[in-house]
Every structure is written in structure tokens, then in C-alpha cells.
Amino acid sequence: MNKEIVAFCCEHSAYPAADLAGKQRLCYPQNLRIIRVPCAGRIDAIHILKAFEKGAAAVLVLGCEDGACHHITGNTRAKERVKYSEMLLKEVGIDNRPVGMFNLAPNEPHKFIRVLNEMNKRIKESREAK
């Protein structure tokens, strides 16, 4: 792969939000690949790094809104881990592969689309900068 965005989606929030986007036929680019997880807190740096090793253009971790995680701290931990992953990538000189952690509610398909668009924009920008 080289253009795909790998998105780890919490089954309580981002996954149903993505479904709603589909139900409302809010079209978005085909390069998204969703991996469903029980909580954003399941995702660790290694999963993000592996996605990049396999050639992902960007990685997204999507969890519940800050303060509304079903597992209390899962989304805040995920945020820290995404930050850590960014550092890990930066220290090996990889700064053109965006990673993002975003919070959203299950009924926010528009936010889901916004996040995707932003990520695609960041991919484009980093490609152009290269």
C-alpha cells in the first residue's frame, strides 16, 4: 500500500460514526481502511509503526470524546500513545507520514468526514513538501 489511511476505530464511537456517514451517503475517498477495535486504548505505538512499515500514508486513531470514554481513560491513553508514536517517527527522520488522534461521538458522521479530509490534506501537503 502507499496511499491508504489506516484508521483504528473505537467500536463505541468512530465505527458507528463511519456507518452513519455511509448511511447518509457522505462520500469520502476510497483510501480509508478501518480496523475496528473495542477502545482506542487498545492501540499502541507498535500498531501505528507497523502500519507505516506496511506503507500506510497516514494512521488515524479515533476514539470517544474526551471525558466520555466507555473505559474512562482509553481515549486519553490513546492520545498519549499517538503523540509518542509521532515522536518515534520523528526521531528516525520520518516526518511525512501523518498520525492523528481524534475524538468523536457515535452520531458525528460530519466530524468523521472532516477528520478524513484533514488527514488527506496533510498527506497531500507532506507529499508536496517532499
Binding site: 500500500m1 502507499n2 496511499k3 491508504e4 489506516v6 465505527y15 458507528p16 463511519a18 456507518d19 456517514a21 455511509g22 448511511k23 451517503r25 457522505l26 462520500c27 469520502y28 475517498p29 476510497q30 480509508l32 481502511r33 478501518i34 480496523i35 475496528r36 477495535v37 473495542p38 477502545c39 486504548g41 487498545r42 492501540i43 499502541d44 507498535i46 500498531h47 507497523k50 502500519a51 506496511k54 506503507g55 500506510a56 471525558g67 466520555a68 470514554c69 466507555h70 473505559h71 474512562i72 481513560t73 482509553g74 491513553r77 500513545r81
Partner: protein, 543 residues
């Protein structure tokens, strides 16, 4: 021998037009371990399910991938089909080719659909069986507290046949019950009498909780009475330890005394048969140091009305906002105003000083837009609600978060109304929020519901060892124990020797935070293991 994976693709009644199903089928058939690919148009309906079932049997399929609509909609239906065919319901994965593929994109999406199926196949190949089992639970309930919510919930638990222990740190039951007795036609003595007589309720007074170990359905509570400590077992614990009030006259640089009194003192004066001198004018003030004034508003309205009725005094209420967002309070507020009580609303903090043995209040009333100066015989000082003394210590002991004001229960909407992040531990009444009497009553019955559904069957169905610690790999670093939001992990001693972390199937809520953080990679979350996640990534872009 390789596992036989069957892939069932549904074209949703032929409505999905942007996937070339024949091409997809051909490609999917070439994925290793896929032994059969079946194309359907109505997989989720009775006839589709029947066909699926017979296929599974005919082809000896061991694991199933369904490529159709969202698992959010139909996952449970297909798992039932698997179980009906005698397969482990866990050996199942869905590729969401409708909501997250066909419907989400313009143009042909065959390539993506095939990839989603590959991801599901890659994941399912690595799955291990998960068995369900029933674990028995202790059906006794511990209620901590002696006030109205505590007593009332004990009585309701008894009504549905759950044995309850009522544990109060004070020597007597009742709490603040006596204070509200007048308002709600409550009889303290009859309620306490009822719990004392109830065979299902055991009462422990002058007793404290000093330790809680274990998990939902199986708590061991260390109880201290005097110098003696005992251990008792319960299936659930309900905290109804109430709140405390802090009278804050310090804001006015004056002290409580004859002219500045607390609501409690006023209530005593009003209940007394005679009073030395009836005050001609009384002021109330709140919202100065804390605008969370639902209960101060209620106390003020009730007391102001009684003041008018009993003593006929002039009554002035200084506040920012009248908190009428409880049942019947707007009506009460109107009644109070009809009785001639004046409400003055300030924005800046009023100035309060002593003058000739009376209390002078100077405030800028925002409705009148004028400075108002009033001199009262009595001023009822603001009362601030604060958490009960032991809240902080006990929440640390329980490993449970408090809210931003220090009361029990984290401000997470998924815990409302009465749950905590630990299964089997509940908070009701004033110890978790500033609840008026009606809301407190609702809390009581809610917790009875919450506990009933956990304990009444006497057993809980769990997925056995879905999240599991590999004892060989565990380095006993305690990381998982520290990070588990549900306190589901404990240290256990294996073979009388090594201590390792162990995850309770009862308390685990399946988030995977521990599996992600374990530095020794000793925790496996079946269904979401590292290998299973990475296998999905590996399928991406491979075509």
C-alpha cells in the same frame, strides 16, 4: 491441516451496484485458506441464513467471514447461525462492504471490497476459540451510610429478596433524615423501625469500611468496629454516604453567632415551641462562594415560607439565580413570592457588616439596577456542599475517581446515574451529586435495579479468559494493575511462589488498555491481539 474458512458475500438484494461481485468472488476464492465463497442476495433473512447454515455443514466450514452490511446491524444474527451450526460464535468476522464501502464512495469499489474481505480473512485465520462460562456471584449487598437513601435502598433490596447489610459510621441511623422530616411527611422513626424489623437487613452502626478487595460478585470488605476488624463478603457495594455542609460566613469577615446563623440553626429555631424574640426581618444569602446552589435554594425556599407562616417576618433572599430545576420548585418559588418574600439578585458580592446589633447587607440588585441596603435582625449564611470527610481516602482505597468537586463518581456520562468504573460498586444520593429529594428517591430505585440485574440470577455469563495474562511472560511489573480502569487485575501467587497479574473475567470490560501497555507483551486480548491487528494491516494494499 489448514483451517477451512468460508466467505459469504451478500449483494444486499442486488442493490449494491458499484461492486463487481463475480470478479470479487474470483479474487476472494484465491485467498489462502478460503475454501468456499458463497454469493447471496439476502444473507440476513431467514432463507439466507438457512442457506448459510447448510453450506457451513456441507463444506465443513470452520470459520466464517461475512461480507455484507455493518456488523453494528447484523453481527449478532450471523453469530447465532454459527452457533446453530455448532461452531464457536467467536470464529466469525465481518467485512463492512456496504456502509463503509459501497455507500461511502463514488465509482467502482470492487478492489476495496476485496481488500476488506482479505482483512477479515487474515484476522479470522488467527482467532483462538473463546468459551463462555457462568460464574457464580455472592447475592449479598452492602449499603454504606445511614441516611435516607441508605435506609430506603436497604428496604427495597429486601423487597426483592437480596440480603443487605447496612453499615453506618455513626452510632445511630437517620443521617440528615431528621432535617427533612417536616417537608415530605416522612417519619424517621417508622423507617428506622422498618429496617430494624426486616429479617433481610443486618444493621451495623459505629462501623467503618477500611478495606475493599475483590471484584463484582465477590468483594471482600474489611470492616472496623471499635478495635475489632472483620472480613465480610458481598456481591455488590452501594455507597450512600451523603454530603457535608460548610457554612461560609468567612466570606463576610463575620462569624456565626446570634445574628448570623446557619440554615440548620434556623430550622431548629423554627421547630422550637417558643422563641425568645421573633426576628422582624430575616435575610438569606447564597451563590456567593458556590453557585451550585440547588439544595441551598430549596432550604431557603422552605425555610422562608415557614418563617412567613410562623413569625410573619420580613424576608429577603440575596442570590444570583434561583435554582428552580427540580420538581415542584417553581411552584414553591411562586408561593414564597406570593407570601411577600423579596428576591434580590446580585452579580457582585454583597457587602455585609454589623450595625447596632443587626446585620447590614449592601448589594447592587441587577434587576432594579440600584444599590440596595437592608438591615436584618438575622442573616442566614450561605451553606456550601462539600464531600464527606472520608471521600478522598475511600476513593483512593477503591481506586475510583471522584468528580471535579471531589464527590464520588467520575463525570463520565456512561456511568450515570449510579454506576462507577468498577462493576458492582455504586454511588447514590448526596455522595455523588447535589440531588433534591425526588432525584435522591430515583437514585435509590435505580441502584436497586442495577444491583438486581447483576446479582439476582446468582451467576454471570462471561467470555472465559478473553483477555489473559501469560504467566510465563508476566514480569510482575504491576503496570496493568495500575492502568486498568475497571480494577479488574489483581496479583495472584502461582504455585506458592511467583506472583503474577491475573485478570478477572467478571470485572474485565474488554478495553485492551492493559494489552497495549504491557511491556513484556504478556497480555493477550483474543480477537484483538497484536498478531490479529497486524494481520489486518498486512492485507491492505496487497492487491
Amino acid at each position: 491441516m489448514e483451517t477451512k474458512i468460508g466467505v459469504f458475500i451478500c449483494n444486499c438484494g442486488g442493490s449494491i451496484k458499484n461492486i463487481n461481485f463475480d470478479a470479487a468472488r474470483e479474487k476472494v476464492a484465491k485467498i489462502p485458506s478460503v475454501t468456499c465463497v458463497n454469493l447471496s442476495s439476502n444473507l440476513c433473512l431467514g432463507e439466507g441464513k438457512e442457506k448459510m447454515l447448510s453450506y457451513i455443514k456441507e463444506e465443513n466450514i470452520e470459520r466464517v467471514v461475512v461480507a455484507a452490511c455493518s456488523p453494528e446491524l447484523k453481527e449478532h444474527i450471523f453469530r447465532q447461525v454459527l452457533e446453530g451450526a455448532g461452531l464457536n460464535g467467536h470464529f466469525f468476522s465481518m467485512a463492512n462492504i456496504r456502509e463503509q464501502c459501497s455507500w461511502a464512495h463514488e465509482g467502482d469499489v470492487t478492489v476495496k471490497a476485496v481488500e476488506l474481505i482479505k482483512m477479515a480473512v487474515n484476522r479470522i485465520r488467527l482467532l483462538q476459540p473463546v468459551e463462555k462460562k457462568e460464574l457464580s456471584v455472592n447475592k449479598e449487598v452492602l449499603v454504606v451510610g445511614g441516611g435516607f437513601p441508605a435506609i430506603s435502598s436497604a428496604l427495597q433490596f429486601s423487597r426483592i429478596g437480596l440480603r443487605t447489610t447496612l453499615l453506618e459510621k455513626k452510632p445511630n441511623l437517620g443521617g440528615k433524615l431528621r432535617e427533612i422530616e417536616g417537608f415530605y411527611s416522612l417519619e424517621t422513626s417508622s423507617m428506622i423501625g422498618a429496617v430494624e424489623e426486616d429479617e433481610n437487613i443486618e444493621i451495623l452502626t459505629s462501623t467503618e469500611v477500611v478495606g475493599v478487595e475483590g471484584k463484582i460478585g465477590d468483594f471482600t470488605v474489611r470492616i472496623r468496629k471499635g478495635a475489632e476488624e472483620i472480613l465480610r463478603n458481598f456481591g455488590a457495594i452501594v455507597f450512600a454516604t451523603g454530603y457535608e455542609t460548610e457554612v461560609s460566613p468567612q466570606d463576610f469577615q463575620l462569624k456565626l453567632g446570634i445574628n448570623i446563623i446557619s440554615q440548620e440553626r434556623l430550622a431548629q429555631m423554627l421547630q422550637a415551641s417558643s422563641v425568645e424574640r421573633k426576628p422582624e426581618s430575616v435575610g438569606f444569602i447564597y451563590d456567593v462562594s458556590d453557585e451550585n446552589s440547588r439544595l441551598p435554594t430549596l432550604a431557603t425556599l422552605n425555610n422562608a415560607l415557614t418563617l412567613k407562616e410562623r413569625w410573619g417576618s420580613e424576608v429577603y433572599v440575596f442570590c444570583k439565580n434561583v435554582k428552580v430545576d427540580s420538581e415542584g420548585v417553581e411552584k414553591l418559588y411562586r408561593e414564597v413570592r406570593e407570601h411577600g418574600v423579596m428576591f434580590l439578585k446580585f452579580d457582585e458580592k454583597p457587602r455585609i457588616s454589623a450595625e447596632d446589633g443587626r446585620v447590614k447587607i449592601e448589594a447592587k440588585d441587577i434587576l432594579l439596577g440600584e444599590d440596595v441596603t437592608l438591615t436584618c435582625d438575622l442573616l442566614v449564611a450561605e451553606e456550601k456542599l462539600v464531600p464527606a470527610e472520608e471521600t478522598e481516602a475511600l476513593s483512593t482505597l477503591l481506586n475510583i475517581r471522584t468528580d471535579s468537586r471531589g464527590f464520588y463518581q467520575d463525570e463520565n456520562v456512561h456511568l450515570y446515574p449510579v454506576s462507577s468504573e468498577r462493576g458492582g460498586i455504586f454511588f447514590i444520593g448526596g455522595c455523588r451529586s447535589d440531588l433534591d429529594f425526588q432525584r435522591a428517591l430515583v437514585d435509590v430505585s435505580s441502584v436497586v435495579m442495577g444491583v438486581y440485574k447483576l446479582l439476582s440470577p446468582g451467576k454471570i455469563l462471561v467470555e472465559a479468559e478473553r483477555v489473559k495474562v501469560d504467566r510465563q511472560k508476566c514480569r510482575t511489573c504491576l503496570t496493568c494493575i495500575r492502568v486498568c480502569p475497571h480494577s479488574a487485575i489483581q496479583l495472584v501467587r502461582v504455585d506458592n511462589e511467583k506472583e503474577v497479574a491475573e485478570i478477572s473475567d467478571l470485572a474485565c470490560d474488554g478495553c485492551g488498555i492493559c494489552a497495549a501497555i504491557c511491556p513484556a507483551k504478556a497480555i493477550n486480548f483474543e480477537g484483538y491481539s497484536d498478531e490479529q491487528i497486524v494481520a489486518q494491516i498486512e492485507a491492505i494494499g496487497a492487491s
